[in-house]
Amino acid sequence: MKINYKKIACLTFAFAVLVGCDDFLDVDSRENVTEEDSNQNFEPVQFVNGIYGMMTSWDYAFSYLGITEIISDNADKGSSPGDPGGDKGLLDGLTFTATAGSVEAMWTNWYKAIGRASYSINYTENYGLTDVAYKNRLIGEAKFLRAYHYFFLVRAFGDVPLQHVDLIVRAPKDQVYDFIEQDLLEAIQVLPEKSEYAPADLGRATKGAAKALLAKVYLYQKDWQNAYEYADEVITSGEYGLEPDYAQIWRANTENGVESIFEVQARGVALAHGVQQYSETQGARGPSGWGWGFNTPSQNLLDAFNAEGDVIRRDATIIFRGETLYDGREVSNAVENPMYNEKAYSSANAGAGDGDKNIRVLRLAEIYLIRAEAANELNNQDVALSSLKEVRDRVNLGEITTRDQALLRTLIWKERRLELAFEHDRWFDLVRTGQAAQAMQANGKPFEVGKHELFPIPNAQLIQTPAMGQNLNW
């Protein structure tokens, strides 16, 4: 009996040592499918979709507002006086520094989007797609989107590193523009027109979008001839037209409509996907409100509309306290701020986290204005005036007839402001046209010439890569 127990004890011990060999550590993965068990690879289109997905991020609902509109004379910070909205108050007052969170967020966001685009171009090229047109289209979409994001970077920061070349050394502005143009020209070659896409692909980058963006890129470089030509090609392509009613342009029923050249897609359902809180951050704040009340129209903008007698665009752009909106929603007198951005308003799910607001990025009216401006610089005042007329007729404003190049130039600039208010164009346009110092100082903001034309390289980036160097005077 005694011996038996002894044996059992010994055997137990021996057994424990035996099972205690290495294969005990081979544990099968259960929650994630491992590489060797996975039959499916990622399709190239998924990586391309991922670039678009970047544009629905939270940064576009807050930081982006700060550095495109709140900073300008069109908009104020809004919200409660005591709520700084991170650095929105500093941007509004032009007292922000290199540590401003909004600048850092967009710098990072744009570079990450560029990273996604480059990754998907490589992936698509090497994946072995047999449908060459499809493959080229995907690459074209990615190139369009890469150009779109570099265009932001070069406008905001001037010389910037080209991600595929070096992460520290800043490429001169011209080289960045060259790269943008190259991407867009290649995209134009391979992208289908809007009408050539299958319905399920509505919203993808098109040939027209690439041309429209390229026209705008040339405009920024004062390459009038090219700006003119590409704008003209878009206008005469037969793909686009103007919405008859200006007020409808930012509503749900005109999403991807006749005027739309490129826009960020959104569907306000949590289970699907929407642009993060774009409508909520800019929604009316307080009783009866639905949002945070940031990025509110400024008195300066209201005055500009009124001075022009521009009632239609004023009322389509601004929600006034106490107003009843087109869909019957009553904005009570109890809301916190006197005005809100109507272009950000979503009727269906105003304050929802996953918004349904498609953000219009490029639309035909702007292309008319690009053609007008380029034509005027090329001393082709006929086209300039006729282009301008297209835009003004829709909003019942009188025809402009002056052929004075300098005067016409400023009238076109003014038209851009009123037509494109709150479409994230104002600040870059002010800087491009050289009006920034005068306009901002007139608005009581301490614009410093030689400094504020560019945003500072984010301090957090300089901590990581001090050799990159800061922009002048920052």
Binding site: A16, P84, T97, P199, V335, A348
Partner: protein, 1031 residues
């Protein structure tokens, strides 16, 4: 209380009986309390004293009889009729046995740093979780309490050694490895043995870097059945409430702010409401515990059985936690005592209904002019009429309205939180020890824990929507729902169930060899262990629009109009295989040397080339008092020096996300990775993907530690104590790294990137003395000092920020040379008095007079993040405890206190403001800037919302944890011992901190809000009346 009465009835039927033999007598302890289970030997016979200390033995009168009992000095007394023998406690704490890994050891033989806490210390401070009871009782073991019902306190041993990996020590309950002891009834615990240094804990290898806590549960002792009943009833309230501004102070403050920002709107001076939100939100709450245990045994078998019911509710209405535990432990000896089988099993059934801690923050900030309810019974919100200055949501024609602040109604928030958790935890151990030959024992034990938990959350979506704005109507909600079919934001409610099952086991098999050859004493242990953990099944389902009545809360009854959510997964378990050995040798109990080695293989690192690791330790000791030259020194009873070195690991490391990011399923990617998108006229979802983070090979963190200490007993063993110095270095701490901003890599990733050093010393002193037979006392103090430093950070890895306040403001940063995640803030430097002063000096943004002024640290003329500086850490530099016990006749009195110091805490309640319409503490009101020259310390009513050193305060505190007064009745009726007592838990707190509690662990994650008071549960004081009965 029902349980208690039931227990008493049960016991009345129980009766001991004696066998008449020649000599009868009684064994008592020094305090005259009967001692059961004492072994009594005469020349011809043996016996054991019974439950009442009575014994009888076959012996002749005058024959020497020997009395032996573990922990007492053996005595030989001549037999006499009705003799009474008083046994003296042998201890000296140093003669106690402590649990070490895979074995036990005499405390005198230890060569490493282990702290022991016994059951009497634990039961004196009743709590849901026993960790709360040991706060302040062991030097270097820092317990951060959380007074919420059923909460688990945090335990940090010898400083914070890691930024990202697990911070909790390993728990070993009677040999069962577990991650938490929330399932244990504190009254079932016999002792805590806490391995603090690597020399001792290295036997647990890659799990031991945060220390190892052994818990030994109570076992039956040889002798008659002992029945113990413990019951208490307690009432709890907030220990350290903050006095908030009242309505009229608030109105003054608000109107000053309005004037300062140039707004013409004012609140009326006479407001109809003066709401004390804390008063409305919180109330006195109660706790009670009843337990009963049966224990006893014979020579070959012992048993212990207990049942406990513990119930407590929280300050917020409806916040409750309860737990029932059953425990049974048995030992059996067979084959002439060579085989010993130990079996124990415990089951714990717990329930809780949590409420949001965010309500405490809201109660701080919501304006007192806002009522809890509007006259129509709806929850009020902070709306006001800017034109009339009245608070309320009615805005007449031509009038404008607004919100005083964006804070919700805290009472409503607590009301709408509807969550119910249930958990069943089964834990068991079976162990066999077989003595193969004298001195050689084989042991095999299998310990396992299975747990089931269920969480139900009901969210009244419509109710919350209606509450958020009183002008909203149900009809509007219905209209929205109709125009947004399938959109869950407009479902009336949502209901979810989450079920989690988890299982873990460890199977240890080892040999122990124990032999003395003359003066050479040798002890060796070697074995193998395998462990499986993280074996989790989880399912989650959610439905919408269920009927409102709770009885119908089934997902099956959810509306078909909304897509139901079903998620389920099995986790990949972790398996660890280990070999270990320990060799201990001492010569003549004078010179000690000990070495351990552990080799661990871990399945989670299998993809790395290096998934096996070796963790050695070595330690030595020298008992000077056993040397001839010191053996006769008067008043020096014991003195030992010891020194040790060990290497331990932390395998509980975070892992990097996959290299390809996708967000399939329901989250849609919004706000997570933003991978997905919609296309087409119907905007159909398409899935996207993006490349993620760099692939970095992660392995366990390795901590190396040296420890040197001494133990002593002086003055006739009345003064005992120990001192330890340690220096531990986590040699490859994992940090959370942000990739270059302009690189394609999107997600932060983890990589080994720095070293974390904790260096400090610990001192424990204990004095005890018996003044007379009636009066004895003891005083224990302990003190621990620790310095935490982040060293040798990889160049690009420095400077990660943390401590986000959730409003865009951050408060912490890691930097080489600083403690982990130190405070990093603008330095408040007075208050702007005039606009001229602002214009003439560097400032941030567009401040107004009355705003805080900040120091331009880098003298570049602007104030921004580059002017932030380090302000120390939330981690205490020192902690101390004091324990006083007095026994006078039948009275016992004890006082325990605990304190920490050298740390800073951030008052997020005060500092985190958005609209300027939040309420303030009365002190804030009284101290505010009111105009040039009024104060240069505190900002005015119009203030900015930047995080700065202004809100950082000393976190030092000293708290009386426990004052207990008890009285013991002996030998009443059938009851051998009955003690009644009253306890005041946390009656006093001494701190300069201006918030509710300086004990602010929050999630415990250094990178997050540890040390920041925001959504924190206040400290609680509890008054307890209880009774202990022994039959």
């Amino acid at each position: 209380m029902k349980n208690f009465i039931f227990g008493v009835f049960v016991l009345l039927f129980f009766q001991g009986h004696l066998h008449a033999q020649d000599i009868k007598g009684k064994v008592l302890d020094e305090n005259g309390i009967p001692l059961p289970g004492v072994n009594i030997l005469s020349s011809t016979s043996s016996s054991v004293s019974d439950f009442d200390g009575n014994f009888s033995i076959n012996a002749k009168e005058g024959e020497p009889i020997t009395f032996t009992f573990l922990g007492y000095v053996s005595q030989t007394v001549n037999a006499a009729a009705n003799m009474s023998v008083s046994m003296k406690v042998a201890s000296t704490e140093l003669s106690e046995v402590v649990v070490v890994g895979y074995g036990t050891q005499k405390k005198t033989d230890l060569t490493s740093a282990i702290s022991t806490i016994k059951s009497d210390q634990i039961s004196k401070q009743p709590a849901y979780n026993a960790l709360q009871s040991i706060q302040g009782k062991a030097a270097g073991v820092n317990i951060i309490a959380n007074d919420a019902p059923g909460a688990t306190p945090t335990i940090i041993i010898r400083g914070l050694g890691t930024a990202e990996s697990g911070r909790s020590p390993m728990f070993v309950v009677d040999g069962v490895i577990t991650g938490s002891i929330a399932n244990l009834n504190p009254n079932d615990i016999e002792s805590f043995d806490i391995m603090k240094d690597a020399a001792s804990s290295a036997i647990y290898g890659s799990n031991a870097a945060n220390g190892v806590v052994f818990i030994t549960t109570k076992k039956g002792k040889q002798g008659k059945t002992t029945i113990k009943v413990n019951s208490f009833y307690g009432a709890k309230s907030t220990l350290n409430p903050v006095k908030m501004a009242n309505s009229s102070q608030y109105v003054t403050f608000f109107n000053e702010k309005q004037a300062a920002i140039g707004s013409p709107d004012r609140l009326n001076l006479n407001q109809p409401y003066n709401t004390d939100w804390y008063d409305e939100l919180t109330g006195v709450s109660f706790s009670q515990s009843n337990d009963i245990s049966f224990s006893g045994g014979s020579e070959n078998a012992t048993y212990y059985f207990s049942f406990n019911n513990y119930t407590e509710d929280g300050l917020l209405e409806g916040h409750e936690a309860s737990r029932n535990t059953l425990r049974s432990s048995n030992t059996l000896k067979a084959i002439d005592g060579k085989l010993k089988i130990t079996q124990n099993f415990s089951a714990s059934f717990s329930k809780s209904t949590p409420k949001p801690y965010g309500s405490f923050t809201e109660a701080y900030k919501q304006a007192p002019v806002v009522p809890v309810y509007y006259p129509d019974g709806r929850f009020a919100q902070s709306f006001w009429n800017r034109t009339t200055g009245e608070v309320g949501y009615i805005i007449g024609p031509g009038e404008t309205g607004g919100r005083l602040n964006s804070i919700g109604n805290p009472v409503a928030n607590a009301f709408y939180q509807n969550e119910k958790n249930k958990m069943v935890e089964l834990q068991g151990l079976i162990q066999a020890d077989y003595t193969i030959v004298e001195g050689l024992t084989a042991t095999s034990r299998f310990g396992a824990t299975k747990s089931y938990s269920k969480t139900r959350i009901f969210n009244d979506v419509r109710g919350r929507w209606l509450t958020a704005d009183p002008i909203r109507t149900s009809a509007q909600f219905a209209a929205n729902a109709a125009s947004n079919p399938g959109v869950v934001d407009w479902a009336n409610n949502s209901l979810s169930y989450k079920d989690v099952e988890s299982f873990r086991y460890n199977w240890d098999t080892y040999l122990t060899f124990n032999k003395s050859f003359g003066k050479h004493n040798l002890n060796a242990t070697a074995g193998v262990t395998q462990e499986r953990k993280n074996d989790i099944y989880e399912s989650y389902m959610q439905g919408f629009n269920v009927p409102e009545q709770e009885q119908y809360w089934n997902i099956n009854l959810a509306s078909a109009d909304y897509r139901k959510v079903a998620n389920q997964f099995y986790s990949t378990p972790t398996q660890v295989l280990s070999y270990f050995g320990r060799l201990q040798y001492n010569f003549d109990e004078r010179y000690y040397i000990s070495g351990t080695i552990r080799r661990d293989g871990n399945s989670i690192f299998k993809q790395n080339s290096k998934y096996w690791g070796t963790f050695p330790s070595v330690s030595a000791g020298w008992v000077l008092t056993n040397e001839s030259f010191l053996s006769d020194v008067k008043n020096l009873d014991f003195l030992k020096l010891r020194v040790g070195y060990g290497e331990v690991g932390n395998a509980n490391v975070p892992f990097n996300a996959t290299t390809i990011n996708t967000s399939p399923g329901t989250d849609g990617g919004a706000g997570i990775n933003n991978n997905n998108y919609v296309f087409g006229p119907n905007q159909d979802l398409v899935f996207g993907a993006s490349s993620g983070t760099p692939v970095t090979d992660l392995t366990w963190e390795v901590t190396k530690e040296i420890n040197a200490g001494l133990d002593f007993e002086l003055l006739d063993r009345r003064l005992s104590g120990s001192f330890d110095y340690y220096n531990r270095l986590n040699t490859n701490a994992i940090l959370n790294i942000t990739p270059l901003l302009n690189s394609p890599n999107e997600l932060n990733y983890f990589d080994h990137g720095g070293e974390v050093r904790n260096e400090g010393y610990e001192l424990a002193l204990n004095w005890k003395d018996n003044i007379s037979d009636d009066f004895s006392y003891s005083i224990g103090v302990n003190y621990a000092r620790n310095k935490n430093t982040l060293e040798s950070v990889k160049p690009a890895y420095d400077g990660m920020t943390g401590g986000s306040l959730g409003d865009g403001q951050i408060t912490k940063r890691i930097q080489e040379g600083q403690p982990l995640y130190s405070w990093w803030l603008l330095e408040a430097d007075g208050v702007w008095q005039t606009q001229a002063e602002i214009d003439a000096n560097p400032h941030i943004g567009s401040p107004a007079p009355g705003h805080l002024r900040y120091k331009d640290q880098n003298n570049d003329g602007v104030i921004d993040d580059r002017d932030k500086k380090f302000f120390g850490s939330y981690i205490p530099k020192f902690s101390y405890g004091i324990n006083i016990n007095l026994m006078y006749k039948n009275f016992d009195l004890s006082v325990d206190g605990f304190g920490v110091g050298g740390n800073k805490v951030y008052n997020g309640l005060k500092g985190k403001r958005i609209d300027g319409g939040e309420n303030i503490a009365e002190d804030t009101f009284n101290g505010r800037w009111t105009g040039p020259g009024s104060t240069n310390t505190n900002p005015g009513a119009n203030r900015d919302a930047l995080s700065s050193s202004y809100f950082l305060e000393d976190g030092d505190y000293f708290r009386i944890n426990n004052i207990t007064l008890g009285y013991t009745f002996k030998d009443m009726f059938k009851i051998s011992r009955l003690r009644i007592y009253g306890t005041a838990q946390n009656p006093f707190l001494f701190t300069k901190y201006s918030g509710f509690t300086p004990e602010l662990n929050n999630s415990g994650v250094p990178r997050e809000t540890a040390g920041i008071e925001v959504d924190a549960y206040p400290n609680i004081k509890t008054f307890i009346f209880g009774v202990n009965i022994e039959f």
